[in-house]
């Protein structure tokens, strides 16, 4: 039993030492990928050691090995839930929410009246906690993915709106004056100057929204869902104390969320290659 605890400590020290060595070397694509992976593996090994060392009951915290076993055994359930929650709920809501926020942002930016009226009210609405909104939206939009998408729309709308509005005013006054000297119209200025200049902010919004979308879809399922979906599985499995399945779903969520975030970050890299923050 103490053997496992010592194992955990050793792994921790070893992982840290290895990473310190790697981090000291010049950054390459390989090291920037391998370092967090090693860190994660270390964490997992420590977790395993602690669970075994302290003999923690599997209904409280299952060991990573048990989670992995459950993951492997339940891939079809996990896949079904993934499709329901991520593809139908989160992705639809993400696209709708970010898309409409983007369009509204352009309107808000165009009409000062809207900016001054909508943004403060918007900030207030954005402060409404999801936990409270989710049951209401489920009541309105039904149990299936539509209500999840609605929750996601509400969650991602304001971060995206605020970022886009901020981005649209990110071009410098000189850059805008230049457009004026060429007598460029509103649309030309929007397309050729303000949207490109807004891209770093827009991607900031898209990145924040990507993690929010997933959380929103899962949390909303806690408040009503058909009998599939990640949130459904998590909430019912907790009730059945099948914590290994709960954690398997959490692993799926974490991997999906990180991958989603990563994909957006990659696109950001290629679109805003010119921005100083992307250039080293």
């Amino acid at each position: 039993m103490t053997g496992w605890l010592i194992f955990a400590l050793l792994v921790w020290a070893g992982g840290w030492w290895l990473n310190a060595r790697l981090a000291a070397r010049p950054a390459t694509g390989f090291t920037s990928l391998i370092i967090p992976v090693i860190f994660g593996l270390t964490l997992i090994a420590v977790w395993e050691g602690v669970v075994r060392g302290f003999e923690i009951s599997p209904v409280l915290l299952p060991a990573p090995s048990a989670i992995a076993a459950r993951f492997a055994a339940s891939t079809s359930i996990l896949w079904e839930d993934f499709v329901q929650t991520v593809i139908r709920g989160a992705l639809t809501g993400y696209v709708l929410g970010c898309g409409s926020a983007f369009l509204i942002a352009i309107l808000v930016d165009r009409y000062d009246f809207l900016r001054r009226g909508l943004l403060p009210v918007g900030n207030f609405v954005a402060a409404l906690p999801v936990i409270g909104l989710a049951p209401i939206l489920v009541m309105w939009f039904g149990f299936d993915w539509q209500s999840k998408a609605a929750v996601v729309v509400v969650m991602v709308f304001f971060p995206m709106l605020v970022n886009t509005v901020q981005g649209l005013s990110a071009s410098s006054s000189m850059q805008r004056d230049l457009m004026r000297t060429w007598a460029a119209g509103y649309w030309t200025t929007l397309l050729r100057l303000r949207l490109p200049a807004a891209m770093p902010f827009i991607f900031n919004g898209l990145k924040i929204a990507s993690t929010l979308a997933l959380i929103g879809a899962i949390v909303a399922e806690f408040f009503g869902s058909p009998i599939r979906g990640m949130g459904f599985r998590i909430s019912t499995s907790v009730g059945q104390l099948a914590l290994d399945l709960v954690w398997a779903e959490i692993v799926v969520a974490a991997i999906t969320g990180s991958a989603f975030y990563g994909v957006i970050a990659l696109i950001e890299r290629s679109v805003t290659f010119w921005h100083p923050s992307q250039r080293h």
Partner: protein
């Protein structure tokens, strides 16, 4: 005084009146106990709290307790204040479901967390598919309220005789608008609110002795509550920290609860246990009949 913490399965309401009465009337104190009652909720798995050391005793329903036991949680039933089940399926009459034969083609809402098991067993007995296919029923997970029924998202919904049923009535429907199927009547009922603790505590004579006193005082509370339902409801209301409960509802609930506890002195009925376990197994919640999941030691000592 010895400290005992009780973890409830649900929020503070007359369903747990016996314990609050025992606390309020000093029955625990008489047994030299200092009892803390922790309310529950949908996000609380009492078993986790028990195993995590946050409570000494918990209230749970038998199917979920058995499932937890099979998953490696060494919990044991030490007393069973509820003799019968208050679970039922409530349908709106307008959907023209008058008997189980009418179920096919309809949507039945149920709570999950183990509460779906008896329903699945029932449908199995009736020979209906549950995936919404032709000639079968659709089972829909619903949360712990009756909105889906009122808003016609489902045609029948799981309700408790003592709680949700009355919420439907309060919403403006009359008993004539409803058709109810009691699980008790359909022969698919499982044991509800029992008291559970860990094997470890039972093995410790000092702890076991504490539990004896606890069960004795609790049952005294229950019997007092049965006899004085209105006073019991008042006591519950005083102990509700959310301030969300109403007097009318709790008094009515207490009346219904009294019917469920009436037949029990706290001793577990073995036959009822076996039947419940059988149903739980048929539903797939457990894979084999449990062993050592209950004991009469505590109630035997408490009641003599």
């Amino acid at each position: 005084a010895d400290e005992v913490t009780l973890q409830l399965k649900w929020v503070t309401q007359a369903q747990f009146a016996g314990y609050y009465v025992a606390l309020d009337k000093g029955f625990y104190e008489e047994e030299n106990l200092d009892v803390t009652i922790k309310p529950g909720g949908p996000d609380i798995a009492p078993v986790q709290v028990l195993l995590g050391g946050g409570a000494d005793v918990m209230v749970d329903w038998l199917p979920s307790a058995l499932a937890a036991r099979e998953k490696g949680a060494p919990i044991v039933n030490i007393a069973q204040p509820f003799a019968s089940s208050g679970l039922m399926l409530t349908c709106l009459k307008e959907h023209e479901i008058n008997s189980p034969e009418d179920f096919p083609g309809h949507t039945l809402g149920t709570w999950f967390f183990g509460n779906e098991i008896p329903l699945y067993s029932w449908m199995g007995k009736l020979g209906y598919a549950t995936d919404g296919s032709e000639g079968g029923v659709t089972i829909q997970k619903i949360n712990f309220n009756v909105d889906p029924l009122l808003q016609k998202q489902v045609e029948c919904a799981t309700t408790m005789t003592y709680n949700e049923y009355w919420q439907v009535i309060d919403a403006g429907l009359t008993p004539e608008d409803l058709v109810v199927f009691k699980y008790e009547d359909e022969g698919i009922s499982t044991l509800e609110d029992g008291l559970y603790t860990t094997e470890e505590k039972l093995a410790d004579p000092a702890e076991a002795e504490k539990l004896v006193r606890f069960v004795r005082a609790s049952m005294k509370g229950w019997k007092y509550a049965e006899e004085n339902p209105d006073e019991a409801a008042e006591i519950v209301l005083e102990n509700d920290q959310t301030g969300a409960q109403t007097e009318k509802h709790q008094k009515r609930m207490m009346g219904e609860i009294a019917k469920l506890t009436a037949g029990s002195d706290g001793t577990l009925d073995e036959a009822a246990f076996d039947r419940s376990a059988q149903i739980t197994m048929e539903g797939g919640m457990i894979t084999k009949m449990p062993e050592g999941a209950w004991t009469h030691d505590i109630t035997d000592k408490a009641l003599n």
